[in-house]
Symmetry: C2
Subunit: 459 residues, 2 copies
C-alpha cells in the first residue's frame, strides 16, 4: 500500500521533522513589530528553500508588508489541485518573564501529562503549517513525487490582519486558483477527536446615532418635556429580541436555515459541557435563543449584539445633561443564506419605525459579509472525513465557527474555491500567550492526517 509507506516515512522521520520545525520556530518572525521585519523575511526565505528542496517551484514574493511564500508542485495524478494556506508570522513573545523556557528556543517536554512542543508559534501557526509540509515531504520521499498538484501559500501578516493578502490574491488569481483550499489554522474538538470547521458565520455591522434636540440640554430645565436620545436608544436595543431571545426585525431569519439533522445529532451527542464552556468566562446560563443547544447558538444561529454604546456624560460623577444624541454599534452574526445588505436595510427600517416624534436616526455602515458553509455533499469533505476518522479512530466533528476567518471568504469570492479548515490545535495550547505549546501528537498525527487526506483526495 502506497499510503502505508508514506505514513511509515512520517513515523520514521519524526525527529528530523521536529528539527526542521525547531529551526523555523527559532526565527523570531513577529509581524507586528517592525524591528522583526528581517526575521519575517528570514522565515519566508527558510520556507521557500525548504519547499524548493522538496522539488516545488518556490519563491519569496514581496508585498507592501512582509513577503508571501508561494510554491507550486506538479503531479502525475489528474487529481484535484489543492491550495494550502498557513502563516509563518507569530505574535510577540511578551511578557517574556512568564515563559518557563525562552519563547524562541523550542523544546519538547511534558505539559499537562502529554508531550508537547513548547515555544512561540508551535501551535499558531508554524507547527500546524509544518504538518502539511512534512506530509508532502513523506510523499516525495516514499513515492518520488507529490500525490497531487499542490500550491502552497504562506503569509507573514496573519497576526496583523492580513493587509497584503487580498491585494495579493487579486493580483495573482490565475496563479493561485485551485480546486479546493486546505487551511491549517484551526483546532480539533479535543486531544483525540479531529474536527473540520465547515460553517463560518457572516457579519453585518451597523452603527445607529439617535438625535433629538439640536443641542445638549440642562436636565433640570428641560427634563420631563424633552426627548432623551439615550432612552430612545435603550428602547430600540430592548426591542430587538423577544422574550425567547429571537430577533424580531422583519425578515431577519430569511435564509437562516435550520441545521442539518445529521450535524445537529452530532453536536447533541458531543462531549460538551455547557457549564464548563460558560464557566470559563464567568457565566452559567446560555443567554441566546431558548430551546437551542449552546453550540447551535454560537455556530449556526444568527445573533444581534450591541458592541458599544455611548451618549451624554461618561466621566466621573454626574452631569445633569440630556444629550443631543446617543449612538450604538450593532453587529449581526449571520448564517446560511442571510443577506447582510437586506438585513441592514430591514434593521434600519425597524429602528426608524421606533423613533418617537422629534427624533431622527443616522446610520454608519461598517461592512458585512455573508456566512460561509461547506456543503455537506462536498466530495472533498467526504474524503477528508474518512481520512481523519481512519487516523484518529473517531469521526471528525463538523464544527462551526462563530467568528469570521476572512481568508475563507476571500478564497470563495475571489478564487471560487471552498475551503477545508482542518487543524490540530487544542483548547489549552495557549496561543498568543506565554508557554504556547502544540501537542506532539498533534504534530505527528497531524502530518499523518494530511498524508491520508491527500491520498484520499487523489483517489
Amino acid at each position: 500500500m502506497a499510503l502505508e509507506q508514506v505514513l511509515a516515512t512520517i513515523d520514521k522521520n519524526l525527529n528530523h521533522s521536529l528539527e526542521r520545525l525547531f529551526a523555523l520556530m527559532r526565527i523570531e518572525s513577529v509581524s507586528t513589530d517592525p524591528a522583526f521585519a528581517k526575521n519575517c523575511r528570514a522565515a519566508a526565505v527558510w520556507l521557500a528553500k525548504e519547499l524548493s528542496a522538496l522539488g516545488l517551484d518556490a519563491s519569496v514574493r514581496d508585498t507592501k508588508g512582509h513577503p508571501m511564500v508561494v510554491a507550486h508542485g506538479k503531479a502525475t495524478a489528474a487529481a484535484p489541485h489543492v491550495l494550502f494556506y498557513g502563516h509563518y508570522d507569530v505574535q510577540p513573545a511578551d511578557p517574556l518573564a512568564l515563559w518557563q523556557t525562552p519563547a524562541f528556543e523550542p523544546e519538547v517536554r511534558e505539559v499537562g501529562g502529554r508531550k508537547a512542543i513548547v515555544g512561540r508559534g508551535s501551535a499558531d501557526d508554524k507547527g500546524q503549517l509544518m504538518t502539511f509540509v512534512e506530509a508532502v515531504r513523506a510523499f516525495v520521499e516514499a513515492e518520488g513525487e507529490l500525490p497531487l498538484a499542490v500550491t502552497i501559500l504562506l503569509e507573514g501578516e496573519e497576526e496583523t490582519g492580513s493587509p497584503s493578502l487580498l491585494p495579493f490574491l487579486e493580483a495573482n488569481k490565475a496563479e493561485l486558483k485551485a480546486d479546493v483550499a486546505l487551511v491549517c489554522d484551526t483546532d480539533m474538538w479535543n486531544d483525540t477527536t479531529p474536527a473540520i470547521t465547515t460553517m463560518l458565520r457572516g457579519l453585518m455591522l451597523d452603527e445607529v446615532i439617535v438625535k433629538a434636540a439640536d443641542r445638549d440640554l440642562h436636565s433640570g430645565l428641560f427634563g420631563g418635556a424633552a426627548m432623551n436620545p439615550i432612552r430612545v436608544l435603550g428602547k430600540i436595543i430592548a426591542s430587538v429580541h423577544d422574550g425567547d431571545g429571537r430577533i424580531v426585525i422583519p425578515g431577519f431569519y430569511d435564509g437562516a436555515d435550520e441545521l442539518d439533522p445529521e450535524i445537529k445529532a452530532q453536536w447533541t451527542a458531543l462531549d460538551f459541557s455547557e457549564s464548563k464552556f460558560l464557566g470559563e468566562i464567568g457565566l452559567s446560563k446560555p443567554a441566546g435563543e431558548k430551546g437551542r443547544h449552546v453550540l447551535e447558538q454560537i455556530w449556526s444561529r444568527p445573533t444581534c449584539d450591541v458592541n458599544g454604546i455611548i451618549g451624554g456624560y461618561t466621566g466621573t460623577g454626574s452631569k445633569t445633561v440630556i444629550p443631543a444624541q446617543a449612538s450604538a454599534k450593532f453587529s449581526f452574526r449571520l448564517v446560511g443564506k442571510q443577506n447582510p445588505e437586506s438585513i441592514r436595510a430591514s434593521f434600519r427600517d425597524f429602528v426608524r419605525k421606533q423613533l418617537p416624534p422629534d427624533c431622527e436616526a443616522e446610520f454608519l455602515a461598517h461592512g458585512g459579509s455573508p456566512a460561509l458553509q461547506l456543503p455537506l455533499t462536498s466530495p472533498y469533505l467526504k474524503k477528508a472525513r474518512e481520512a481523519l476518522a481512519a487516523e484518529w479512530g473517531a469521526p471528525a466533528v463538523l464544527k462551526g465557527s462563530g467568528g469570521s476567518i476572512p481568508i475563507v471568504g476571500n478564497f470563495k469570492r475571489d478564487l471560487g474555491m471552498d475551503s477545508l479548515l482542518i487543524g490540530f490545535g487544542v483548547d489549552d495550547d495557549r496561543i498568543h500567550s506565554p508557554n504556547e505549546k502544540y501537542n506532539l501528537s498533534s504534530f505527528h498525527k497531524g502530518a499523518r492526517s494530511w498524508a491520508r487526506i491527500l491520498d484520499a483526495l487523489r483517489s
Copy 2:
C-alpha cells in the same frame, strides 16, 4: 405715605443708581479665571464700602476662594429680619469679538425696542443685586433708616458652583440666620409680568453598572450564548417608563402631590407657547407624561433621565466585542415630598429585579436632595405677591424651576429659612453670552419692587 416717598426717591435717583451700577460693572470680577482674583476682591471691597455708606455694618470676609461680603443693618421695626442673597462674580466675557461694545464698559442703549443696560453682569447678577441695594438706599434717604433688619450676603463664586458658600453658612449660622431669605437671581415671566419662583425640583443621582462575563468576549466566539450587558442596560432603561411616560418604579410617585388647583389654573392661563419653547431647542412635541401641560412637566412633575451611558467599544469603526460591563448615569427630578433615598432604594430594587441570570448590578450614589416648595400659605409670599402686583399691574406668576438652586436648599436645611426667589431678568437677557443686557425697566422697577416688598413685609 412713607412708601410713596421711598418710591419717589428711587425715581429721582435713577441716574445716580445707574452710575453706581456701572461702577460695579466696570470691575472685571470673573470668578473662574485666577487672573481676575484681584478684580473679584475689588468688587467685594466696592460693595462693602457702598453698604457701609448706607449705615450697614459691612465687611469683606475671606474664604478659600473669592471673598464674601456680609452686611448687617438694624431697624426700629420689630418686623421680620430678612437675609438678602446675590452674587458679584460674573462669567468670562469671551468671545470678546462678538460684543458690540466692550463687555466691561457698560452703557444704556436700545435693544429690541427697549432701553437696556448692556455689559457683562448687567443681568447676572450685578444689576439684580443692585436693585435691592438701591431700594435699601432709598429707605435710608427717605426715612433715615432701614425698613427692617437686613443682612446682605453677596458671594463671588456663584458662577463656579459656590464652593465656599456652604462652609461659610455652616461656620456663620448664628450670624446669618434670619426669618426669610430674599434671593434676586431669577427671571420675570416676561417683560411686564413679575414672577416668584416657589417650586424647585429635587434631585436623586444614581449610576448603574451592569456586569456579566468576567472579561470582554469575542462576539463571534460567544455571541448568541453570552449575556450582553449593553442589552440588559437597554432593557432596564426602556422599562423605567410606561407608554404614557409615567415612571413605573414602585412607590416612585409617593409624595409627588398634584399641583395646587390655583397654581394649575394660573399656569394654564399663561401666555405660553409650547411650540416656541420646544422649537428653540429643535423639538416640537413634549416628551413627558401624557396629559400634562409642558410647564407641569418641567416644574412640578418628577422625571427620570439617563444623563450618560457607556459600554464596549466606542471609537471609530467597529470591534466585535461583547463587553464585560456597561454603565449608565440616571437622574431623577423630584417634587413635593418625594424622598430621594427611598427612591434610590426602590430604583435599585427595580433594576435588580430585571437582571437576567449571570448579571449583577453595582451602583454608585451621586447625591440627592428633596424638592423645595414655598408653602402657598406663607405670609411672606402673600405680601410679596401683593407688592409685585401693585408695582407691575399684573399678578406675579408663581413659577417652578426644573433645575436646582443649591443656595435655597442650604438656607432651608442649614438656616431653617424659606426663600423668596424674586428677580427681574427676562428670557432674552443673554446671560453668560456676549451683549448681556438688563432691561432698564427691570432695574428701575426692580428697585421699586423691592421697596414695595420691604414695606409690605414690615407692616
